[in-house]
Symmetry: C2
Subunit: 242 residues, 2 copies
DNA sequence: TAGATTGTTAATCGATTAACAATC
DNA sequence: TAGATTGTTAATCGATTAACAATC
């Protein structure tokens, strides 16, 4: 029926799970490079990246045959191949929308520039913030959003606004032609097909940790309330009121 | 061989993919609650959460049978069941280590308190930062880390230090009995079995976006350099130097 | 050649999804 | 009863992993 099912591996490209790990490998390789290491085995690199070596080799095999049997991988060459695959051999122009605490932290984050991400705009709706100097840039008014995107060739928008403002901002950047959005606002953004949204949610990460922490504390199998009755039962009412 | 393979579904508990989505459902339900909605169908809730309805129903079925056929789910009851499953019916004590731009943003983030996460400590190694008031708390010296964890019952550590300091800080919080760590430092932390680490990496998220953005720009199948030769070839040397 | 390590195969596992019987 | 919607089944898809042939 749908062409999706008939696509070959080559057509589908690199698996998403692999793409998500490539930056991790790249970081480990940079660390090795700084230490002057020229060659690394899959076992060593996997250990530095926190994965097992079979997964690492499988991941790298999607890019091509860049290792040497009996020897390992040449660090510099692998750095180049992964960088190229990820699109890091070119610069990407980023705009940060919302210059609160988090936006400021992002504006000052050194990890962006070093990976080819150039922050070319800081925008906010608050008149008290507009005009401030942050990390060597002047915060501009959100009214200028479309102009900034067009004039500076922004291709990635970072949304760090309050939840209530995020969807409107997103609609505007998408209307301006941006198809990659990194969203820090705690809302699910609606976007048309073809637009990629990645979401970073601090509260969600803590909630996932809490789930596991609770399991540890309670011990295995400990879920005495699992059979709770429907609303109206004594158990439920008592628990909700607690 | 290993008991892992013989465990039943009940023993394994709720799938990780489901656990990661429960906080998203919870947020959507809170929004509905604020709007005064009492009952919701899987179709409506799924749409608000950005997933399809089959996945939502499957996820919720892991918690129990909390819906009513022909009707839907009662919002308040589902909020309670998901909260309980995630361990949010109790408070969790959090310490933030590293009070730079990001640490400050985290300290001031309202989304923590509202979900039962209480920030009970801000610690830093920089004498210039220690003693500062941030979001109503006094930053303490990192030397006090073990005392703070023990005295205030910290069960989740948030690491927002520079990369170079993160592993040492992690070792110390783990030695103090903390088994849940949220790591913002761009390093892979080594921890013993039984310790959960979740990682938030801003640079990695941008790199994943760049990968997809590049694919769009280049169009499908456009990878002219895919056949690059090994180190030493003209193509490679030129590209690395660029 | 002997030792080491990659790249690939194949088995397994877990997640997703459509479809529909159960049931309110 | 008729209409609506859940909870579950089963098929499919994608990710992980151990094992090993290929090969440096």
């Amino acid at each position: 029926m749908t062409p999706r099912q008939n696509r070959t591996r080559a057509e589908r490209g690199i698996p998403e799970a692999t793409v998500a790990r490539l930056p991790v490998y790249l970081r480990a390789l940079h660390t090795l490079q700084d230490r002057g290491v020229a060659t690394v085995s899959s076992e060593e690199l996997a250990s530095a990246a926190g994965v097992n070596s079979a997964k690492l080799r499988k991941d790298l095999s999607h890019l091509g045959s860049y290792g040497t049997r009996g020897v390992g991988y040449e660090v510099e060459y692998l750095v180049y191949q992964i960088s190229r695959e990820l699109g890091l051999t070119q610069d990407w122009v980023v705009a940060i929308i919302g210059v609160g605490n988090l936006g400021r932290a992002l504006a000052g984050y050194g990890g962006f520039a070093s990976r080819g991400f150039r922050v070319a705009g800081l925008l906010d709706a608050d008149e008290a913030i507009v005009g401030q100097q942050i990390s060597g840039m002047t915060v501009e008014h959100i009214d200028r959003l479309e102009d900034v995107i067009a004039e500076r060739g922004v291709s990635i928008a970072v949304i760090a606004t309050p939840a209530g403002a995020a969807q409107k901002v997103c609609d505007r950047v998408v209307a301006s032609g941006v198809t990659s959005v990194l969203n820090f606002a705690p809302v699910v953004l609606a976007v048309p097909d073809g637009v990629d949204v990645r979401k970073v949610d601090l509260s969600i990460e803590l909630q996932i940790l809490a789930f596991h922490e609770q399991r540890k504390a309670g011990g295995p199998g400990e879920h005495p309330l699992a059979g709770d009755g429907p609303p109206g039962t004594a158990q439920y009412v008592e628990a909700v009121q607690a």
